[in-house]
Symmetry: C2
DNA sequence: CGATGATTTGAGTATTATCAATGGTAGTGG
DNA sequence: CCACTACCATTGATAATACTCAAATCATCG
């Protein structure tokens, strides 16, 4: 199946019929590739479309008036990006390429047809949005109520697990295409402090680093430090209507 | 129209047809009232339903292992609550009554019928979920990247504006049914520090308090301190299909 | 090789948390 | 009506966490 497609992503949660796969594939119109560091869509830009990440990483962020940046989330292959802009004419946050990234473009008006002809897919998309929302809530809890160590650990576990699910982790570890400043902007810390925390995680033997390459040596331990729950949260799409065509 | 109903809420964003109003009303099945402080649905409880707030306030929260609590958001009349649990069999966070609160119960499986028969409403619900998601993102930015003063100010402006939109603010000010500890749990501060910040906001003349009653004297100033944007973010549901019956 | 940007480390500071004590207010039961 | 309790707000004093500033090291790329 198409690597990083919407069909592949939704297929993780529920079985899809042939017609449904085709409908999803038809959504993804143009393809666009942007270089590392480039902004795919800026905050406040006109936003009539959203994206499906095919290859590479993206992150969404907002800038505060004093020049601080908050990174809201990272979008890996198979993730949607920019769909939170649906109910606005202008993007509430910007999308930036953490690596060179390839996305498929989905015009928001094409959701009308999808919702009319494929209610089951519509419901799945809705449920998927709620998954993202829960992830955001968990990040908020981490940033609002945990120590610096915790926050960094939580972010690393989250990324590690998502990458693992998407089968993107080779045995020698994964390349985290993030500066420590970006990590800091994601968890609400300065780059300097992120450095100290990562360093301590290495000393403790929980992770290993080599340049940008990261290996989690003790996922359970890292999860504990990060206050990250275990497997309670397996998505349950079983209540959706049974597979159509 | 039914105060705090889903129809009233969605009607704020787009015109609804008669059939659509009926379909929305049909969703809301039982009614339930719980006392201030009571838990409507606990974290990890089986979650096959979600709620529409009719009267009173609710908040959703998660507990961290060390006993810290993060309040994720407040649900005012007309808001959905617990809908983020859709893709899970067990609730990712708990719902607590901040005041005595009355909710209508919606079984998640009844969404199937709605999505099949009313794609336009389905799309609206989806868009509404994205609105909530954006609010969460803004809170994250506030907690992650602003000072204590900012965070408290941002929360107050947010609540104030939402209450104003729902026409729930009498001229003498609104009763915030929140302890300073709850405010702290929402913005990632201790109750003690929340107290100091609120006190300073009063000294500065931005707000006035009398017991639990709050009045915002200078909304623009409070918004500036809170790093809260102005009117950029007016929802745009204009791209949805035109009104059906 | 020089230039640019990221990481690393140290020293001092600031913001926010923690601890502790006091006063206020509402509710309860006698 | 009053004691009594419980919870919340307030304030001060102290401690800890994370930030700021600064400089040195490293890595990468033309």
């Amino acid at each position: 199946m198409d690597q990083g497609s919407l069909a592949e992503r939704l297929g993780r949660y529920l079985p899809l019929g042939e017609a449904e796969r085709r409908a999803l594939a038809a959504l993804e119109e143009g393809e666009r590739t942007v270089a590392r560091g480039a902004v795919l869509r800026a905050e406040q830009a006109v936003a009539r479309e959203f994206y499906v990440v095919r290859k590479g990483w993206l992150y969404s962020s907002v800038m505060l008036p004093e020049g601080n940046r908050q990174i809201l989330g990272f979008h890996l292959p198979g993730d949607l990006a920019g769909d939170a802009a649906l109910p606005w004419s202008h993007a509430p946050f910007s999308l930036t390429a953490a690596t060179e990234v390839t996305v498929r473009v989905v015009d928001r008006t094409s959701l009308r047809g999808l919702f009319e002809r494929h209610p089951r897919l519509a419901l799945s998309l809705h449920a998927l949005a709620q998954v993202e929302r829960t992830a955001l809530a968990e990040r908020l809890a981490s940033v609002g109520r945990s120590s610096a160590m915790s926050r960094v650990a939580a972010l690393l576990v989250d990324l590690w697990r998502r990458l693992a699910r998407a089968k993107l982790i080779p045995p020698e570890g994964v390349i985290l295409p993030l500066t420590q400043e970006e990590i800091g902007d994601a968890v609400g810390l300065t780059a300097v402090h992120v450095n100290r925390m990562m360093r301590r995680l290495v000393e403790t033997g929980l992770i290993a680093r080599d340049g940008m390459r990261l290996r989690v040596l003790n996922e359970a331990g890292l999860a504990r430090i990060g206050n990250v729950g275990g497997r309670e949260g397996t998505p349950d799409f079983g209540w959706l209507p049974a597979t159509a065509g």
